[in-house]
């Protein structure tokens, strides 16, 4: 991979990410499908990096999926978002960190719209006041949770127990990154590395010992497409998009996929299962699937967290091949054991500290 020129381009795209005192908002999809990831994020932020991360119990969905499913009008979405901002204002925070890419995209879009159309912002303020009596300040810094992890990738690397290196061969693991579309495609300057050469995950992987694979369909959407997945009749499109990506990455023999979007890891994971069921086709090495991870899961693995604490047992495509390659110690029999008390029992509930 020729990365010299790309590095130059990426360097121009550095974005500002706050240092500390984050107001964290969760992702609907991740809470359902990757609960371990959000837990891991808070563990890393609080236990490893000793940062202040605050989560407000009254925050809700940003309504982004409803908005992009076109059932929620834009003004409603804006006002719901404005309510989230008011919670942040109320808690005394200014650095807003969403866990979800759809949310991140929606926040960016709304802030941009308000910037260009101040009258819309005024209207939303009036509506929020009317509906809830709330007022808000706009966040001073908006960063996606993956941006924050990217910012501290070196600190994480310094404290890591494992590196993304094949234990047997000593070669770096070949990693495919998949960036959520709404992370930087709408506003390239709001994402690390922009839309064409997104660096947010690449930076983590390179720092943690892995090697990024640049393949033709790297920037292709996973195929979620909101209504395209939500309605069964449309799912043929959704799966076809992911298949396009798998076909394109297969010749590069990737060891794993890393993502920063809520939906993408779920689709890239599940569609491998469905394609195998439908066509008997697998894309990984040795007739296996390609394990799909969220960036928090990868960070957690690198830091030596128990894979089953990270929720890897919720993946449909087995992650064990990667664990074995890295040489992570884990007990296979504990995978589906639900009686285990998490190893991090102190911050178990992860209530704001």
């Amino acid at each position: 991979m020729k990365i010299e020129g790309k590095k130059v381009i990426w360097s121009e795209y550095q974005k500002e990410i706050a240092d500390d005192n984050y107001f964290y908002v969760r992702s609907c999809i991740r809470q359902n499908f990757f609960p371990g990831s959000e837990v891991a994020f808070l563990r890393i932020m609080r236990d490893v990096l000793k940062k202040d991360v605050f989560e407000h119990p009254c925050h809700t969905t940003c309504s982004g999926i409803g908005y992009h499913g076109d059932v929620v009008p834009v003004e409603t979405a804006m006002t719901v978002v404005a309510r989230q901002f008011s919670l942040m204002t109320e808690a005394g925070y200014t650095n807003y960190v969403p866990s979800c890419i759809t949310s991140f995209g929606l926040y960016t879009e709304i802030l941009d719209t308000w910037h260009h159309f101040p009258e819309v912002e005024e209207k939303v303020r009036r509506q929020l006041k009317k509906a809830t009596g709330r007022e808000f300040k706009k966040p001073e810094n908006l960063a996606h949770a993956s941006d924050v992890i990217y910012k501290f990738r070196k600190e994480i690397a310094a404290k890591s127990k494992y590196r993304l290196i094949n234990k047997e061969t000593g070669e770096p693991l070949k990693v495919v990154d998949h960036i959520g579309c709404h992370y930087s495609k709408m506003f390239p300057s709001k994402g690390v590395g922009g839309a064409e050469y997104p660096y947010v995950l690449t930076g983590m992987i390179e720092e943690w010992g892995g090697q990024i694979v640049d393949y033709p369909e790297r920037r292709h959407c996973c195929g979620f497409g909101f209504r395209q997945y939500l309605v069964q009749a449309n799912r043929g499109f959704s799966i076809a998009c992911s298949k396009e990506k798998f076909e394109s990455m297969k010749p590069y023999q990737p060891d794993m996929i890393i993502t920063n979007c809520p939906g993408c890891p779920m689709f890239l994971d599940r569609w491998q299962y469905v394609i195998n069921e439908m066509e008997g086709k697998r894309y990984g090495q040795n007739g296996e699937g390609i394990p799909v991870f969220t960036y928090e899961e990868v960070a957690g693995l690198v830091l030596g967290y128990d894979p089953w604490d990270l929720g890897l047992q919720m993946h449909q495509t087995d992650c064990e091949p990667v664990l074995k390659k890295i040489g992570i110690e884990y007990s296979p029999e504990d995978k589906y054991n639900l009686a285990i008390i998490p190893s991090y029992s102190d911050s178990h509930k992860l209530i704001n500290v």
Partner: protein, 114 residues
């Protein structure tokens, strides 16, 4: 329908490798100016036949280059060869000869197919 209630949608991308681009090759060889086309659509805008039908030489040129021959074969016959396209082409492409050559190429390939 399978147990999932949907199938995998087939792609609409054009596969250059599997398409037969013999016709394009034949034209490239016999009318090198075919390569100069920037697909601006000037030809389609001025076209006499385009006045009566959806005939578009620009589209035909693109399809031939892609090897989507089946979409071109019959459409080509609508051309009246009046030559207005050649006059308006900003790149000096001999558009008229392209049509003649394409027709000839199809005729030849049809004969072989028979």
């Amino acid at each position: 329908m399978n147990k999932f209630g949907f199938g995998i949608s087939p792609g609409r991308q054009i596969d250059y490798d599997s398409n037969n681009r013999e016709v394009a090759r034949y034209i490239f060889e016999n009318e090198p100016s075919f390569r100069l086309c920037i697909e601006c659509g000037g030809c389609s805008a001025t076209c006499s036949t385009g006045n009566f039908t959806g005939f578009s030489l620009r589209e035909i040129n693109i399809l031939i280059k892609r090897g989507e021959n089946d979409l071109v074969r019959n459409a080509l016959k609508k051309c009246m060869l009046c030559g207005k396209c050649t006059l308006v082409c900003p790149r000096g492409v001999n558009t008229r000869n392209i049509v003649v050559l394409a027709k000839r190429a199809f005729q030849k390939s049809d004969e072989y197919a028979l």
